[in-house]
Symmetry: C2
Amino acid sequence: MALNSRRTGRNLRLVVAYDGTAYHGFQTQRPGLPTVQAMLERAVEAVSGHRSRITGAGRTDAGVHARGQVVNFFTPCAIPVARWAAALGSVLPRDIVVVRADEVSADFHARFDALAKIYRYFIYQSEVRSPFWDRYALRSRVPLDTAAMAEAAALLRGKHCFRAFHDAGSPPRDTRRTLFDLSLHQFDAEDVWSFMCPGPRAGLRGLPFLVITLVADGFLYHMARVLVGTLLEVGRGALSPQSVAERLADGRRDLAGPTAPPRGLWLDAVLYADDPRTWFYLDTVRVVQ
Amino acid sequence: MALNSRRTGRNLRLVVAYDGTAYHGFQTQRPGLPTVQAMLERAVEAVSGHRSRITGAGRTDAGVHARGQVVNFFTPCAIPVARWAAALGSVLPRDIVVVRADEVSADFHARFDALAKIYRYFIYQSEVRSPFWDRYALRSRVPLDTAAMAEAAALLRGKHCFRAFHDAGSPPRDTRRTLFDLSLHQFDAEDVWSFMCPGPRAGLRGLPFLVITLVADGFLYHMARVLVGTLLEVGRGALSPQSVAERLADGRRDLAGPTAPPRGLWLDAVLYADDPRTWFYLDTVRVVQ
């Protein structure tokens, strides 16, 4: 039976959350390796009796998590849309959850119609590694200079050539992207900390949890992780905040920071034309900059 | 080479944290199945060149986590005690962490010397399952009546025969235990919630996170999980708070609640004579009751 990748039947859009630890990324590249896409396609077939090709908005790397991945697929199946999330939940593994399902117009495409994506990168500052939090966040042993990181982040926001901040996969023709937001948020969650992080909190400057938010109209290969890796080098004092401006100008990948590990990265949301946040970023942020 | 289970060499005590999801419990029962004990024994051998038998304080079930499991082992190895945690960390998998290591007297035994244990059970109230939090906590779809649960918990505290609240493994001779504490703590951790739980918070009465603390001088087989399963039935209105007093009197396991899933349970700490918390529970709590 051929995959239903043509526009036949209803077009369904799902918001999907997953723990990416066990998967070889979102997208199936070689058959046999477990991917989020393959698990979703298997679940859709089990529920509907029809094979459908799942299109994802973001091709998250192996180990990257998602709270708000968006996918779409066409199906001839008549199950009411309100029942799809629960039906898929009954056959999906515990680490993949369909948060909601909607029927959308036949011309909706999860990837091509996405106007922006929000990623978050989670860091915890601790002397002792947490066996729990470590799946979802990067540990920093050393206290990070968040003021220097914020200074570098401000220089990176805006429309630039981000050639220095991606890893060469298939080389893209256009390396310009608009980074609507790159900012830091620190917080303390004492109750959660006391469970998830068994070690002492001594020696920390600042709060234990740090989140880096990245919003752009598109991300080059590994761009989110290289931006975070560079900010971490700035936070550790190994790179100056000003050096990121030089990288935007000279495009030297070898002088930017390393690619941060995937496990701290979360695809938080994919923004489409029907989401008010989209226009906040596309209109307001672009005008201000 | 025989296992070093005799009291030869130095006696080392470790505090160990682990994510129990991937393991068939703490204790090795059949060779070949991955257990926390087997991983620790393998790591000790890799670091020291000597095989040592690891003794754990608590035999946590498959899927149960630990923040403060305590183990001890004898080793002829001369590595300074300050280096052991880092040395073991370099060979252990990411989901097992040695929080600290101490040299103790030759007569210390992790299990026999434990005077009390602290367990916590984590519950989150959400309409949508979280693929992240679900490893570490039980989801309740329905809002729980925490006042009724606290009323039942108060009746269970103290020295009782807990026959109704354990599963028959090897039947213990004495089913009396002293439950120093059984209490509920609710909290809100908005920042963490917004990451870990992708669904809406609507429809919830009370705060999203609930922790049940259990402290006893010993736990019968599955006792912590049956106590939690019973409190959950009370919280859902399926059992009355007073019914737990009847179960203490009649010992009817079939009328108590089900065994709660392991994934919400955490071995938080093991209390020995050198820990001030031990005497808070053994002296203060026992006198008050």
